[in-house]
Amino acid sequence: MLNKIWSGMILLSVIVAAFTGNIGEVGTAAITSSKEAITLGLTLLGVISLWTGLMRIGEDAGMMDGLAKKMKPLLRWLFPDVPDDHPAQKHIATNFIANLLGLGWAATPPGLEAMKSLQTLNPDKQRASKAMCTFMIVNMSSLQLIPINMLAYRAQYGSANPSEIVGPAILATLISTLVGVAFAKIMERVVR
């Protein structure tokens, strides 16, 4: 999938640039954005590692098991193929909670762990299981309740009331998540 999208994006850009006369800018952009990616990557390295370090303390103290236990009814309904007390439940719960709190960068490590645990339950290692599809769809349906970054940008650009968008954003997020869950649940039944 990414194969096509990625090459399509680059090829389309170069072709368009040839017509719009932006071909020089494209070369410059390729170099500067690769540098930008590494700079961002270094920030990511710091922030994610700090977070996984903290999370490990919580995990070793049994915090995540407690979280997963509280969310068990929901997890059982969303992921009927995941047996109770399987490590996947714990990682999924941690990922959802980090997302809800708007800690997007903190959601990645438990999310990847969740995928690894789900892979151990997956009979066909090349193909996504239903549980993986549901998990990814819910994860990407935007769970974040308060868009903290947006509030900061709005304040920075002189909004009279930066937080006026919080209410509608929560409602829109809820709608996107419900639609995502409904889609996943229908597909789960339709496909084999």
Binding site: E59, L112, K125, F183
Partner: protein, 177 residues
Amino acid sequence: MRVINMISDLMIPLIFVGIITYGLAKRVNVFESFLEGVMDGFQVVVKILPTFLGLVVAVGILRASGALELITMVLSPFSEWVHFPPSLIPIALTKFVSSSAATGLILDLFKVFGPDSLEGRMTSIMIGSTETILYTMSVYFMVIKVKDTRYTLSGAIVSNLAGIAASVVLTYILFGA
């Protein structure tokens, strides 16, 4: 606003205090656990960095080439028909690929229209209720080497389109003239 600011200021320090005291109470060797977790984090980042670089470069090229403007031009009759401001198309498209790439475009829009304009509010709500699909999917599935992602992409697109539609409708209801 003050409450929300306070919550977001307090969030990270509180997480530190909460986790460390909980760990100490459970007699965990907290610093040792922390170091193990940091090592895991390093490995995660090293694994996702190639994907990240590939996508950031692709979006950088896309922005510089003028292709976004071209796509916007092609899509604007349709977007006007559904009352979606064409100036938001590049943001919605870029956010689909990578959220850090979309940030630059969002700030540009705030500069031009202001955050309290219809466009500014709609963008704020839309960004708050959509998620980066391409980046997330490629990283998560790459780590476990799954090739066939089945209905994940279509599900994510459907749910994010619902989020965008809801943002548009809510903006007109709450802030529309």
